[in-house]
Structures are given as structure tokens and as C-alpha cells.
Symmetry: C2
Subunit: 100 residues, 2 copies
DNA sequence: TTGACATGCAACTGTTCAGTTGCCTATTAT
DNA sequence: ATAATAGGCAACTGAACAGTTGCATGTCAA
């Protein structure tokens, strides 16, 4: 999941799917300086990470952004860290003062 | 930043720093089946990604979790996607119905 | 000062991974 | 039926990267 988000190409695919849902593979390829097969591989990773859902319609494959797991980042990391945000910054400041 | 979060070892380091701030390199190494140098490399990446701040105190180096950039994920991705969450799910459902 | 401790730097290795090329399958339209 | 379209599969290449080993630097304590 984090690995899936690590690649710029995949983030761009997510952005494109966010801009317009239900795009086919060919549509997603248009404008990208990448082979269709490369895009396919990225989409496979994104689907494995549950970030994208796909539906076959005839010979086409429609792709949809799944916002749920991204929301889970918030639950797992942000909430967790934000809770201690001020405290951590305070500790950092204190550490810097001890240094000088 | 996303790349920095992509590695499990680095996420564990973040968890450890979250559990206890201001740990030295040696403390962070304890219990990890990894060389000290490997941990150093991870910490360099985390610092480059601005996820960790470090302070030298004598011969030791203290490490602190920086929660700010993780908060920015929320601003950039979660908010962006959550805003359209229900809509995207609706689109997905509609696509599935067209399929059947 | 000298030894022990905490960290930094550099070269090397094996693996993972992004992207390509080439070919195959399935569906639509004429 | 057949040609064009949309996508899938597999092998290969090159680069990035995680982790290692070996040595060097700097700092504390006796």
C-alpha cells in the first residue's frame, strides 16, 4: 500500500482516476510517456493495494479510484501522530536547548 | 516522502521514534536484525524526507519524529479524496450495475 | 593520553522493480 | 468471416536500493 503510493507514475494514475472515474486502460495511457504494458503493471499494483477497483465491460476494463485505504492512513498514522504532535515538537525544542 | 514511507523497516523506525522520542542510533538498532549502517541509511532517507529530525549531542545523535509532513498527506490526499469519497463509491456501484 | 564507545564514509553484492519488446487472446464492427 | 481494437502474458534489460563488510573520525572517561 505504501509501496504502491511510492511511485510517481502510480500517483499520477491515481490523480487521473480522481479527475475522471471509470477510465479504460487506453484512456489512462493517453498522454503518458509510457508503454501500455507499463501502465498495466502499475494498475495491477494499485489493485493489489486496493487503491483501484476495476470492472471489465466487454473488451474494455474500467478503472475506479478506491478512497477507502487512503482514509485508513489517516486512522493509522495521522491520528496517531497528530495526537502527540505538539508534545513531539516540544521535545524537539527541549532537545535543541539542551544542545546549546 | 512516499518512498520513505514505502519501506517496512523505516516505518518501524518511525513507530519506535513515536514510542520514544530522542533515541540515539544505537538505541534504535537494538532489537533490529539489521546492521547499524543499514539503520543509518534508513535514517538518512527519513531525514531527507523530513520525517525525522536529528540533533547531535556530543558523540551521540538524537532522533525525533517530525509529524508535520505526515499531516500534509492528509491535506493533500485524504481531504482531496475523502471529499469525493461517497461520489466515487457511487460511481463504482453504477459501473458494476452497468456491467451486469 | 589512551582505550572504549558512538557515529560516519565508501565500496561491494544481491534483489527488487520500472519499463521495454514481442507475441497471444478476446471482443467489436463491417 | 475478418480486420481492427482493447487488453493480457512472458522474458529481458538497466537502474535503484537494501543490506553488508571494512575502515576512518570524533568524543568521552579513566
Amino acid at each position: 500500500m505504501f509501496k504502491a503510493l511510492a511511485d510517481p507514475s502510480r500517483r499520477e494514475l491515481l490523480d487521473r482516476l480522481h479527475a475522471e472515474a471509470g477510465q479504460t486502460l487506453g484512456e489512462l495511457c493517453a498522454g503518458l510517456r509510457m508503454t501500455r504494458q507499463a501502465v498495466t503493471k502499475h494498475l495491477v499494483l494499485l489493485e493489489d493495494a486496493n487503491l483501484v477497483a476495476s470492472v471489465r465491460r466487454g473488451r474494455e476494463k474500467l478503472h475506479y479510484l478506491n478512497p477507502v485505504p487512503i482514509g485508513e492512513i489517516y486512522e493509522r498514522w495521522i491520528g496517531k501522530f497528530e495526537r502527540h504532535r505538539l508534545r513531539a515538537l516540544h521535545e524537539l525544542k527541549k532537545g535543541l536547548e539542551e544542545e546549546s
